[in-house]
């Protein structure tokens, strides 16, 4: 299959990025060192090219919302200017995708989904919306740059104005810069203070170059992004979330609104009643070795689960990961062993997030 290119491909190559396949795209994994890029993001500020993610615009009368019943997010209850995390589910309650919804206007929402699921999600959502709703897939014309790190508000404000400092965590607004009106949200996938900028495809090279003019701002790739999200215990679709997993198993009951109707709700209510058989947990290793996808998890010699993903955490200086275990087979701080064909790693069950003190909720 031919890989899709980001408009910034040439810029990445100029910076000697190692480019590789991800979700059908040809994307930068790192620009020299995954670990250094992860550390730089937590210390200063990094910019990530996230063009590949799917972006949809839905417009409909909020009094007759059909979107509300398609996804778990309470789209009509959330205030304009807010962002909310949620799911698109199967009837069986398992996860087709995880997504973030932005209420841009009273009657307009942006939905941001995983690159690997863009086509599937577009088909499902557009086919379920009522006839009076409009659906637009803006993925290929809208770029997304994530500016993440404790210094992010300083540099984004120099481009989009000081107003961005008023954005609260998980809120968004439209800002005028580079001759257009563009959405910026205070969201991210790193656990640091950060902003996601949605801009026309043909303006993104200019924005990328402008951001990198700041000495403190460096490019970071998908490798660092994976470390940063795992240190925060954020799930990744394909690893922690799949069509075999429900949001209850992944520990997301708090983001579900059972007061409204949504696809998958009945199955989730049934699962709640009958019991949740597996639970997502954090794994903290005793040394620098990292758990890897599908390694087995043992406690007292008994197999209790499997690893969904793992990395070396440069901030904890040890291997960390996430995985599923049978519910109640272990609790936080219990000693476990991770078993792979390369041997055994000892560690413990850890509470998420692994990193508790970050710049995520700084008041700018």
């Amino acid at each position: 299959m031919e890989l899709k290119d980001t408009p910034l491909k040439e810029e990445h190559l100029k910076l000697n990025a190692l480019m590789s396949e991800f979700a059908g795209w040809f994307l930068p994994i790192h620009y020299g060192s995954v670990i250094e890029e992860a550390k730089h993001t937590r210390a200063k500020v990094s910019v990530f090219d996230i063009f590949h993610m799917g972006k949809f615009i839905v417009r409909e009368n909020p009094d007759k919302s059909s979107l509300d019943s398609i996804i778990t997010v309470p789209v009509t209850k959330m205030k304009t200017g807010k962002c909310k995390y949620g799911f698109l589910l199967n009837d069986s309650g398992t996860v087709i995708d995880d997504l973030i919804v932005f209420r841009i206007k009273e009657d307009e929402w942006m939905i941001v989904v995983n690159a690997s699921n863009e086509e599937k999600d577009a088909k499902i959502i557009s086919s379920k919306l009522s006839k009076s709703a409009s659906f637009e897939n803006i993925s290929s014309k809208t770029a997304k740059l994530d500016v993440q790190g404790p210094l992010s508000s300083e540099i984004v404000s120099k481009i989009a104005g000081d107003k961005i400092k008023e954005l609260k965590y998980f809120s968004c607004s439209v800002f005028n810069f580079f001759g257009g009106d563009y959405i910026i949200s205070r969201t991210g996938y790193t656990g640091e203070l950060g902003f996601e900028i949605y801009i026309d495809k043909d303006k993104v090279i200019e924005l990328w170059k402008e951001l990198l003019k700041f000495n403190e701002c460096k490019p970071a790739g998908l490798g660092a992004r994976d470390i940063l999200r795992l240190e925060m215990g954020y799930p990744l679709y394909g690893d922690e979330l799949t069509e075999d997993i429900t949001p209850l198993e992944a520990g997301f009951e708090r983001v579900l609104d059972f007061e409204k109707d949504f696809t998958g709700k009945q199955a989730l209510l049934k699962q709640k009643k009958e019991g949740i058989r597996k639970t997502l947990i954090g794994i903290e290793c005793n040394d620098r070795r990292q758990p890897r996808h599908l390694n087995k998890i043992f406690k007292n010699g008994k197999e209790i689960g499997f690893v969904t993903s793992g990395v070396f955490s440069p901030h904890l200086n040890r291997g960390i990961g996430m995985g599923y275990i049978f519910t109640d087979s272990a609790k936080a701080e219990d000693e476990i062993n991770i078993v792979s064909e390369k041997g055994e790693i000892s560690g413990k069950i850890a509470e998420l997030p692994f990193l508790k003190e970050t710049s995520l909720k700084y008041v700018c």
């Binding site: 060192s33 995954v34 250094e36 490798g223 470390i227 040394d287 291997g319 792979s340 390369k342 041997g343």
Partner: protein, 129 residues
Amino acid sequence: MDVRSGYYYTKEHEWISIEGNKAKVGITDYAQHKLGDITFVDKPQIGKILKQFDVLTGIESVKAASDVYSPVSGKIIGFNSALENSPELINKSPYDQGYIAEIEISNPSEIKNLMDANSYKEYLKGLEK
């Protein structure tokens, strides 16, 4: 990719630098590039006797867990303990500060099974085609 002259190389991208009957062993610049950031090097068992191309130790990077093979037969007599806390030395200095182990060579004639710097350069060219 940097290839150090005077060293010998394996097809699995280890290098060996020989002085008398002792040698230092590490992985090449090409290997560290391919693996990405090295995050862990397992301490090999000092005193262990190895045959040529036996597994010397394990190494992990952000990308994969892999084995490092001994370029020659002999006894493991040393480990670069700086790698325990700074495995990134392999990325920064694969041929010097990032060496992995020291080996007492038991059969010097096995060097004929290894590549010299020029042959290894040619070998790398072949891989990149």
